[in-house]
């Protein structure tokens, strides 16, 4: 699975589409265990992301990803802004100068992203955050020959696993035990991003048939 500049652009477009479609749902997930704005925060951010990357002409992935990251950082705010911003920024560093993301680069990029998430959020697995999606996905690509559909399934399982965890980080932690029986909104939006990745390579592969 190699990703070209075009593939990554498509990934971001599909991500935006999914975030917009699920905007209300993401905010609803954030209502009982947060402040009900996660979908709107990300919606605002990804709308700007696609505007931004459409205006520019990219020769390599690093510059593209950096624009994505900086846009999210300046438009999302709250907790999700710096988290997704940091993840994409760290990946962008790894992908600087590369016109293609090879599987090796994908691993390096995701490692850096997860490392960034951990440092920024100081959260670990099992604390009911988006980390519970990113870490299993990273595990999977580190240890396997990546199948996009499997990657998406792993992300989905990670998202579902947050239902049943008591939150330890972010606003949801204030809800203590009451936070347990809910899906974490950040985990859900992360799942959407990986689902978008799967779909955008799949469309691509379909196009080649």
């Amino acid at each position: 699975m190699n990703l070209s500049v075009e593939d990554v652009k498509r990934w971001m477009h599909v991500s935006n589409q999914k975030i917009q479609e699920n905007k209300e749902y993401l905010s609803e997930l954030d209502q009982p265990i947060g402040d009900g704005d996660h979908g709107h925060n990300l919606g605002r951010g990804f709308e700007e992301v696609v505007k931004k990357i459409e205006r520019e002409d990219y020769q390599e992935i690093g510059a593209l990803m950096k624009d994505v990251a900086m846009t999210l950082i300046s438009k999302v705010g709250g907790a999700a802004g710096p988290l997704y911003g940091t993840a994409f920024l760290k990946a962008a560093d790894e992908w600087k100068g590369s016109p293609t993301i090879t599987e090796e680069l994908l691993i390096q990029g995701l490692e850096a992203a997860v490392e960034g998430l951990r440092t920024r959020g100081k959260a670990d697995r099992g604390e009911k955050t988006l980390i519970d999606v990113w870490v299993p996905v990273l595990d999977y690509i580190q240890k396997n020959d990546v199948q996009p559909i499997e990657l998406k399934e792993i992300a989905k399982e990670g998202m579902q696993s947050t239902n049943g965890m008591q939150a330890k980080k972010g606003r949801a932690a204030y809800f203590r035990e009451a936070s347990t029986a809910h899906i974490d909104p950040g985990a859900y939006s992360s799942y959407l991003l990986f689902e978008a990745l799967y779909e955008s390579v799949n469309i691509e592969e379909g196009a080649h048939d």
Partner: protein, 318 residues
């Protein structure tokens, strides 16, 4: 939702325009930003002081920009932390080469966004330090405590101190010392409604109150039948004094803060009891503040903040 607004998406921008129009003698808005900066900034030779957070807590923080207070306040969307680029603009605008101290309320979003702004500043060679205020006694785990009305004491004390010449290292120490000696506890009777969503953050029955709600309506410690003012004052005060371990003979400053729609009358009735209780305990109430300092839109309720005073804190506060 019954609010005097135009398009709910523009509330922050239009509010900032209003603030700038009214207080142009004191502050200006940086172009294309949600940053309000003291007119004299950067004040030569002085450590810069920046705070901020989600909007909807007015007068916090823009209302505290001025001499002996903040050099800049950064406004996020309603109840949403401001973004790093905005905070970074504020840092650049107030740095006179003596470094900038960031006063941050302990919410994940705020902490992370201010962190990123500090990294941006570092990358451009501006020295910054941060103090994270965690005064909300309602949360058990100290590390997870939210930053609430106690933040205002940090603004005021450190604001005066840096005006008098403290350097960045001394300012951080003083800020941490202040934050370490301030605790708050709130009670809410009615929720607030964020303009964009039009929905209340929580709901309460007609005879219920929630002890320990956060300033965005985060859950508190306990929901129970509404009590009379004296009981509320006693419960909030005892919790705070206990947590801060204030003992007879010590000096304190107390802020009885309205959450947005509580009449001043009720705040004074609460504060009356606070003053009485402190007197009974032989704790010296050196300074009282009663009013709206850290609000949550039109939330009803109040919070009590106690600051333990020593000579240093007293000298900068009074």
């Amino acid at each position: 939702m019954k609010k005097i607004v135009n398009n709910p998406e523009n509330v922050v921008d239009e509010m900032l325009e209003g603030i700038e129009a009214v207080h142009s003698h004191t502050l200006k808005r940086l172009p294309d930003s949600n940053v309000l900066v003291r007119n004299e900034a950067p004040v030569i030779g002085k450590v810069g002081l920046v705070s901020g957070g989600g909007s909807g807590h007015e007068p916090a923080h823009a209302g505290f920009v001025g001499e002996n207070m903040l050099d800049a306040a950064v406004a996020g969307e309603v109840f949403t932390s401001p973004t790093p680029d905005q905070i970074f603009k504020a840092i650049k605008a107030v740095d006179s080469g003596n470094g900038v101290l960031l006063i941050v309320k302990n919410y994940s979003g705020d902490v992370m966004n201010f962190d990123m702004a500090a990294e941006m500043a570092e990358a451009e060679g501006i020295q910054t330090e941060q103090v994270i205020v965690k005064d909300d006694t309602a949360v058990a785990e100290e590390e997870d405590r939210r930053g609430v009305a106690g933040t205002i004491f940090v603004h005021k004390i450190v604001g005066t101190a840096v005006e008098e010449g403290l350097n960045l290292k001394e300012a951080v120490e003083l800020a941490r010392h202040t934050a370490g000696n301030v605790r708050s506890m709130g009670v809410s009777l009615k929720p607030s409604i964020v303009p964009a969503s039009g929905k209340p953050g929580f709901t309460l029955e007609a005879d219920e109150m929630e002890i320990g709600t956060g300033i965005h309506g985060e859950p508190g410690m306990e929901r129970k039948p509404l009590k009379e003012a004296n009981c509320i004052a006693e419960e909030l005060l005892e919790t705070v004094l206990d947590d801060l371990d204030v003992t007879a003979g010590e000096d304190v400053a107390v802020m009885t803060n309205g959450q947005g729609s509580t009449p001043l009358m009720e705040l004074y009735i609460v504060h009356r009891k606070v003053a009485q209780l402190l007197e009974e305990k032989n704790i010296h109430l050196k300074h009282s503040m009663v009013g709206e300092y850290m609000t949550s839109l039109e939330m009803a309720g109040c919070s009590i903040t106690v600051l333990r005073l020593d000579q240093t804190l007293e000298s900068y506060l009074l």
